[in-house]
């Protein structure tokens, strides 16, 4: 058995700030994970199709332009429609504190705001992947 944790790292909508997603993707690689980097300007349907084809354990979303409350429900409903209940959904970026409970209620498993430390993110993923 050579199981690796596989992560899809992406951004949705027109948010053009990809530095954060790239930094986190590189650090997850350094933590021994296989990261499929899908980049910017994705649609909820495209993200979920990629997650299915790649059989990922985790979808990582990076939000930096205030669109998190708009796109999160669309991604979650697309995941549900495709039965991806065994995929961990995490989000990182800048959000108002008061939006965090809303995002959790929408179905994001864990939110990491800007300033989160990498070991926290890595150990969260390692302890919570659902497929193993």
């Amino acid at each position: 058995m050579k199981k690796k944790i596989k992560v899809l790292m992406t951004k949705v909508g027109l948010d053009g700030h990809d530095r954060g997603a790239k930094v986190v993707a590189s650090l997850l690689k350094a933590a021994g994970m296989e990261v499929v980097y899908l980049g910017m300007y994705q649609t909820p349907a495209g993200i979920v199709k990629a997650a299915i084809d790649e059989d990922v354990d985790v979808i990582g979303l990076s939000y930096l332009s205030g669109e998190h409350l708009v796109f999160t429900p669309k991604i979650v409903s697309e995941m549900k429609a495709n039965g991806l209940d065994d995929v961990l959904l995490i989000a990182g970026g800048t959000f108002p504190v008061e939006d965090i409970p809303k995002m959790e209620a929408m179905g994001i498993d864990k939110i990491f705001r800007a300033g989160s430390l990498m070991p926290t993110i890595v150990s969260y993923i390692e302890e919570n992947v659902k497929k193993h």
Binding site: L28, K29, E34, Q42, T43, A45, G46, A50, D55, E127
Partner: protein, 330 residues
């Protein structure tokens, strides 16, 4: 982590044969992870394989393999073929992790149900592909894919496993990567059925094309009578009308396939490939058996220590182990 129950292989393969994406995705992961059921999965999948056109794409990192693949997928979709793509990127030798960045270039088909793209990390395999690539292709074939692209990781001079897998091999080069001396070297230059000179709008493209033509014209008559073709292309442009050579490339792939069908080489090639693959599987399995056997006795550690201390050498250890356990007749 919650322990997961054993996967129902039979049922998954049944669903795979109806084209189910999630079953395909799951089976690929199981095969990649070399789970206990690996051989059982392939036993069930193998009878449903062997019909797809498999096109290999190799070349250095940044040459434009993925963006070319994206266009080629589009051309075969126009012909209503179902298309699979297996794209390989390197694993980190330190962490074992990987940054799989090919999919970002393969976006024209992100919502096309007739296209299945899978990224694989090389996981330490040296030939430009991951060890699981053979089996992943077969899973995609069994799923109903009619054309399968296999893209190697960024390859230099000697990552040539692709030739064992693809029936038509494209080598993607770009201007400015060296003179005719580089093109005359053995290895990857020799395996191309079609040389794609991508980024043919860059300075130096004409010189590079001349170098390649000159080298091919004096190349030794190879074992086959197919002469590698050179197709200049531009796979990335801000305007679609500035793309170049994609139709010619599709046509040249067709010509190579026609040539293979009309010659007797295809049977010979298949024979050699299967021989090669059997060799790989024997090697993997024998190593597993021997290490497992030694581990049980605690001898593996002793052997390694004795070699570290220069009291023994690797060849004597291998001879001793093989003579004791495999050829002893016990």
């Amino acid at each position: 982590m919650v322990p997961k129950k054993k996967p129902d292989i039979q049922q998954m393969v049944q669903k795979l044969l109806t084209g189910d994406r999630r079953s395909a995705a799951r089976l690929i992961t199981l095969v990649e992870n070399e789970v206990d059921e690996h051989h059982d999965i392939m036993r069930l999948v193998y009878p449903h394989t062997g019909h797809a056109l498999i096109i290999g794409i190799t070349g250095a990192g940044g040459a434009g393999k993925s963006s070319l693949t994206d266009h080629l997928i589009g051309k075969f979709r126009e012909k209503d073929k179902k298309v699979g793509a297996v794209v390989v990127d390197p694993s980190s030798p330190f962490s074992g992790g990987a940054f799989l960045g090919d999919r970002i270039r393969l976006q024209n088909h992100s919502q096309d149900e007739g296209v299945y793209i899978r990224s694989l990390a090389s996981r330490g395999n040296l030939g430009g592909l991951s060890r699981a690539t053979y089996d992943v292709i077969r899973i995609l074939e069994a799923m109903g894919m009619e054309v399968i692209f296999v893209e190697t990781l960024g390859a230099g001079q000697d990552e040539i496993d692709i030739v064992q897998i693809a029936s038509t091999c494209l080598l993607v080069l770009t201007p400015g990567m060296g003179d005719d001396i580089q093109a005359m070297k053995a290895g990857i230059m020799e395996i191309a059925d079609i040389i794609v000179l991508n980024k043919a709008d860059l300075d130096g493209a004409t010189t590079c094309l001349r170098h390649l033509e000159a080298v091919l014209s004096v190349a030794q008559e190879s074992q086959t009578s197919w002469k590698p073709r050179i197709v200049p292309t531009v796979s990335v442009a801000s305007k679609a009308e500035n793309l170049r050579g994609i139709d010619e490339l599709v046509q040249t792939i067709g010509e190579h396939q026609n040539y293979l069908r009309s010659s007797r080489e295809i049977d010979q090639a298949k024979f050699v490939r299967i021989e090669h693959e059997l060799g790989l599987i024997f090697k993997d399995e024998l190593q597993k058996i021997i290490f497992k056997g030694l581990r049980g006795t605690g001898k593996k550690k002793k052997y390694i220590r004795s070699i570290m201390d220069r009291k023994n050498d690797p060849y004597s250890v291998v001879d001793e182990v093989l003579n004791t356990y495999l050829f002893s007749g016990k």
